[in-house]
């Protein structure tokens, strides 16, 4: 590290002491302060420009597009007439919207309940100290680190109706006679997509919940066990209350990431069969990039943003009240 001798530490003030110079010096230091602030903000400016171009601009552009008749021909003619709320009316009155909204909610709630409860169990388990625990806990991250498209490819092979490993095993165990149409039956496909998304999401839940558990002091558990508390009792009176802030974060992020996820559904089922796994992001994708109704796709994705924001505000408010109460 750099060496500092005492005499280099006096370059802070060059001005004369006292007298009429004081006022001038005060003004000079104000302007130096401003220059300082400007020079300091310069470090943040690239990030702000990036956010303006790749987050703020798209959100505004998307909002504007949702009020335009924006189709493939708009790209050639450069014309996209304003049409008021007609895209929203088309989207909301279409046959697909409410089944899609329902799918999105079932997909999100199912994924989060599964990821969170299994993730919490695993995190509590890995809090114990045993040989290889750190190594095994790190390996557990793998499903989350793989590209989601890779995860969907390998689950499509596992869930194949005729020769997939899952049906082969169930068949060999005598549990089924004919293969379960995991991804090809409209009544099962959404459940299968949820199962895959739980598998993808468990590692993330374990990682964050484990971090939260690490912050709970061991002495609390020791004191509780001296008082005769069993594992369930100490979980309820120590782990759960102290883990609440972490739970808030993991739930909030989980819901937002799941609501907006596109690749799990597209990779596994492309929204089918018979739209049974269509969610808001995939519907928006199909409207924009398959039907070239960019205005409708924008409207659908704006509805998605509103749902995410309303959920986040509502959730943060209620959980903050719970924590402070």
């Amino acid at each position: 590290m750099t060496n500092v001798s005492p005499d280099t530490m006096t370059e802070t003030d060059h001005g004369a002491q006292g007298g009429p110079g004081r006022k001038k010096r005060a003004r000079a230091s104000v302007s130096r302060e401003r220059r300082n602030a400007a020079a300091q903000w310069a470090f943040v400016v690239p990030a702000l420009i990036y956010i303006a171009l790749f987050f703020a601009y798209p959100v505004i552009k998307n909002l504007v597009m949702s009020f335009q008749d924006y189709t493939a021909s708009s790209f050639y003619t450069g014309e996209a007439p304003l049409v008021g709320f007609s895209n929203y009316v088309t989207v909301l009155s279409g046959d697909q919207f409410f089944p899609t909204l329902r799918n999105s909610l079932v997909f999100t709630v199912g994924s989060i309940v599964g990821q969170f409860s299994l993730g919490l169990l695993a995190a509590v388990f890995f809090r114990r100290r045993f040989p290889l625990s750190t190594f095994l806990r790190s390996l557990l991250l793998l499903p989350w680190l793989l590209p989601v498209i890779v995860a969907t490819a390998l689950w499509r092979s596992l869930m194949d109706q005729d020769s997939g490993a899952i049906n082969t095993v169930l068949n060999a165990l005598g549990l089924i006679d004919t293969g379960i149409p995991w991804l090809s039956s409209p009544s099962i496909a959404l459940l299968s997509v949820i199962i895959v998304n739980i598998w993808i999401g468990i590692p993330f839940n374990v990682a964050i919940l484990y971090g939260g558990l690490q912050d709970i002091p061991d002495e609390l558990y020791e004191a509780a066990s001296l008082d005769g508390a069993g594992p369930w009792r100490s979980f309820r009176s120590i782990t759960w209350p102290l883990l609440r802030p972490t739970v808030t974060v993991v739930m909030l992020l989980g819901v937002i990431y799941t609501l907006r996820s596109l690749d799990v559904v597209l990779g596994l089922t492309r929204g089918g069969p018979a739209n049974s796994t269509q969610t808001l992001p995939t519907l928006s994708y199909f409207q924009s990039f398959q039907q070239f109704e960019f205005g409708q796709g924008a409207a659908t994705s704006n509805i998605l943003i509103v749902i995410a924001f309303v959920f986040a505000l509502f959730y943060l408010r209620t959980s903050r009240r719970d924590i402070t109460a």
């Binding site: 943040v44 890995f126 793998l142 793989l146 490819a153 484990y210 597209l266 994705s301 998605l304």
Partner: protein, 272 residues
Amino acid sequence: MHRAFLARPARDTIIGVLILAVMLFPVYWMVNLSLQSSGSNLASSFFPTSIHLDGYRTALSDQSINLLTSVLVSLGSVALTLVVAIPASYALAQFRLRGVNAVLLILAVTQMIPGIVVANALYSAYNSLGILNNIVSLIFADASHSIPFAILLIRTSMQAIPMSVLEAARLDGAGRFKTLRSVAVPVARNGVITGALFAFLFTWSDFVFALTLTTTEAVRPITLGIYNYLGADQADWSAIMATSVLASIPAIALLIVAQRFIAAGASGGAVK
């Protein structure tokens, strides 16, 4: 108390291995299938008794160029992420700026914006600028997966640098930028490395921009290569699985050689 539970650690290790075996079975199965003979057949023995490399041959002849595209885009995104995130995280951690909280709030809010919203608008903008199917413009879009995350993550390690260390450098006559480069970044290098690794993995896994901002085969990341394989009428499973194995190499390799950083990033950036 310890004596009474002497056998427990061993039992816990066995349970832990079983949990891992269940969770990682699909990954094992991917490798297993990738070594089967080519074709649409999925029925296979539990171990690859006879090893076939047909899948890898097909994968490499179809997807080599896409793998290369993914490598270039991911490295570009790492560079862009670091250039933008390092100074920002330093300023947000160490300078007493008014408005730091507003910037942090903005960064948190960016996490709530769905990729399809960004893709919808960027497609239209890129199209009018004529920069669809372009590696550089794809890099800029993909960095949106990692820049806010990296700023928050690197900021945490920048906050841990003692004020006195930075002041010492400043008083030695180093400017703010030089202090950042020669003092702050080396001291906070763990955070910087973690941010870089995750920028790579996030971009490597990107699907939404690969799907929407490329329309020809000119610039086609590997995720889209796999997606197109999956859409074929007759799936060639050994080729799909071989490509999936190749596309999993970064995640697996980093989990082995950089486990410490990956574990830190998984629990760090999201919470703080």
